[in-house]
Symmetry: C2
Subunit: 457 residues, 2 copies
């Protein structure tokens, strides 16, 4: 390979025009969801999803055409870059070849914009005027507000109070894109007012922010609830990442031994890895897809595969997932996007069948790798993405140990420009690692309602 060829860019014409649906190639079924009757009213609100998105979550069509309007919006920043991390390789003195796929190069700053655009397109087509959501650190709210601005929909965001205060830059980004944004708990919903009556200086939490968004939802088309990750359709949309990366690896004349992504609810990890996993499911590839999760939120490595709610308030239908229990209180680590108690039923089933692997790391080693990546490759990874970077570095060091020229592809899901205070804490030596006990996980798992009786229906 030429020393010049660090970047393997695709032209606009080379961008794939279909998403990849892994359901077509899985030799097993995804367990169906279960609805508890006492939640039916709120569930209706949550489940008012456009028919097209429901079809995308259930269908077995291998490739799904990306609508022209969505393709056109994607072209603002896609195809995204794939780079060989030559400087990082040198710093590690490894025989491994490391490539990274970078999703932070758009105004929202992360991969989430890829599904936000598709979702907003389908909601608009269904006649919806406004979408609403709850957001924690703000990546999803940012992406949704950008997509709404593109397609002319209104956007109502409830942002967790403490983040609204401590992470002001994403709040400003949402305002810049015309979103109506409230610190949650807010005064505009009953849920918010109730909470405020009890806690005057409330910091809020993601469950409450979502509850406020659900309350603001209507049964007509005026306001619908919209969710960012975990659902099979959001993973489907994100497969564009992996599809592009496959073409780019071809340009590089290489093929990965490992594909590494961080894992929250699953859309980043699934989007990057599923197109490669296809080669393994239906071809003779031996590619290993490795998910990286925080040691403080170890759903795959220490959770159980069982039915649980996808939200922490227990309103949604129950899905079969690797979970720590919807009541699990994730320690306050900086990778907000990975602080989810479970992961998508799709990723969970695939892990259960042994087709992907999982590792968990502590945040100090993760930030150390994030700093090294910044210094060598000139991109500051978001704290979430730094988990994947650390996973890739561990693999590259193992390759050095064994003197093997392994090929590693790592997904950088977003930039850390709005998370610099997290890096500051790390550099100042103020970050702690967190050791979760088995007992903590057990206690939380024990709070999940037993649904075994319902499974024989």
């Amino acid at each position: 390979m030429s020393d010049l060829g660090y970047r393997f860019d695709l032209t606009a014409e080379e961008m794939p025009t279909q998403w990849y649906n892994i359901l077509a190639d899985l030799p097993y079924e995804i367990p169906r969801d279960i609805s508890l009757k006492n939640n039916s009213e709120k569930q209706k609100m949550v489940m008012q999803v456009p028919m097209e998105l429901i079809r995308q979550s259930m269908g077995k069509q291998r490739y799904v055409d990306i609508p022209d309007e969505v393709l056109s919006a994607y072209r603002q920043w896609r195809p995204s870059t794939l780079v060989r991390a030559v400087a990082l390789e040198k710093a590690l003195d490894t025989p491994a070849r490391i490539y990274y796929k970078y999703e932070g190069n758009n105004i929202s700053g992360s991969h989430k914009l890829t599904t936000a655009i598709a979702q907003v397109y389908y909601y608009k087509k269904a006649g919806v005027k406004r979408v609403t959501t709850g957001t924690g650190a703000g990546q999803w709210g940012s992406a949704l507000s950008v997509a709404c601005k593109m397609f002319g929909l209104e956007c109502l965001v409830f942002m967790v109070g403490i983040s609204y205060k401590q992470k002001p830059y994403r709040k400003i980004l949402m305002k810049m894109n015309g979103a109506e944004i409230y610190s949650s708990p807010s005064e505009i919903t009953e849920a918010g007012r109730k909470f405020l009556a009890l806690n005057a200086d409330a910091k809020g939490n993601i469950a409450l922010a979502i509850a406020e968004a659900i309350e603001a939802t209507t049964t007509d088309n005026s306001t619908r609830f919209c969710i960012g990750s975990g659902e099979p359709y959001s993973i489907l949309h994100q497969t564009l990442i992996g599809l592009e990366a496959k073409l780019q690896m071809q340009k590089a004349g290489d093929y990965p031994d490992f594909v590494v992504g961080c894992l929250g609810a699953g859309s980043n990890f699934g989007g990057l890895t599923f197109p490669f996993l296809q080669d393994r499911l239906v071809g003779d590839s031996k590619v290993r897809c490795i998910s990286v999760e925080p040691a403080s939120c170890p759903k795959l490595t220490r959770g159980e595969y069982r039915y649980d709610f996808t939200d922490s308030s227990g309103v949604t239908p129950m899905e079969k997932m690797y979970t720590l229990g919807h009541d699990y209180v994730t320690p306050d680590i900086h990778a907000g996007g990975l602080r989810y108690h479970a992961t998508s039923k799709l990723v969970s089933a695939i892990y259960h069948h042994g087709d992907i692997e999982a590792v968990a790391y502590q945040q100090r080693e993760v930030f150390k790798s994030g700093v090294l990546f910044s210094q060598t490759e000139g991109i500051i990874p978001a704290p979430e993405s730094a988990h994947a970077v650390h996973g890739a570095i561990e693999l590259a060091l193992a390759a050095k140990e064994n003197n093997e020229a392994k090929v590693i592809l790592v997904g950088i899901s977003g930039h850390g420009h709005f998370d610099m205070s997290a890096y500051e804490s790390y550099l100042a030596g103020e970050l702690d690692d967190v050791n979760i006990t088995d007992r903590q996980i057990r206690d939380s798992l024990d709070k999940i309602p037993d649904v075994s009786a319902l499974l024989d229906q």
Copy 2:
């Protein structure tokens, strides 16, 4: 043009390998600098510039080879993107075709990294172990720290106290790259301690930060003072921006009627426009190069062309420039990089001879255009860059008025991710426009020492 072809990317192989030196093509001389004797000791410290950089400031060689190590470092993010701003055109409903060249896509966040890398390379080659500088809002300090990390030099930065406090993200970026950074006034220099003795809670200013850096400079190779913009060599390095843009405009099958850049000390503006200006100086191009400055710091539009110090403390040699007086106190606008009392002698001479044009805008209209650009093109321009965006939008609206399909190329010198609080102030209606009186400018100009006697030597 295909609807797909929004981006006109160059491959790594297509990146120019030489800088362009406009001195070769100017039909007039740049007035020589003047040194005042009473400043000679400190001047020595300021002027310890590697011979190669001095040659680059005086020579008339039309093209200067970029060293291989510098080219290799540039490839981390260069060639930078050139995009046709189709969404912005639509929003303006203009027949004009608007292209933008984006320099924010590197870890330092602005064009400054392009000269920082070259300078650090030459300082290292000259045997220097550490460079030091003063930085205001932090763009230059950030770029220098990144370049030092790349080449293994130490970096000592004095950052204006108030920015150190209010713009923490750039400070963290510098620390991440291993720079030693002090809030100025600091305790480690005499200048800093003196200032602190008089003002316990000192906010500092750029003149003091530079004075501290100069004090930290040594006459041997252990620590040298390094400066970011304005010097002919820094503009030379930045011409890569314009050289790339020329190739990219060819790919687009278009040629600009206008090239628009914001103007501080001159390296962004000169870097973008000089390669196009060459076509006008030695060819038959009618391209118009337009500099955009803040109405609150109107050096070209309301300053005088005369000898002045390039720093506000009056330590440096005097250069013939458009200036508002080195004592001019720029109102506290958010475009920190444009708050310079003068502009490069090179840009000044070219303006004096009528080869470029200048406009000045108020910050509220500038931020309004910055928000529109963010919403349509998905890039948040730095407040400095938003000045250029506003200039381009004004031209596009004039083209609409006259129903002319003008071609406009605008330089986006950096991203605004670390300036979101400025956008927040704008969105909250808290920004004021500032009207500078003729008297203010006159008073400041009258403080410049009269050097007419020295000119007849």
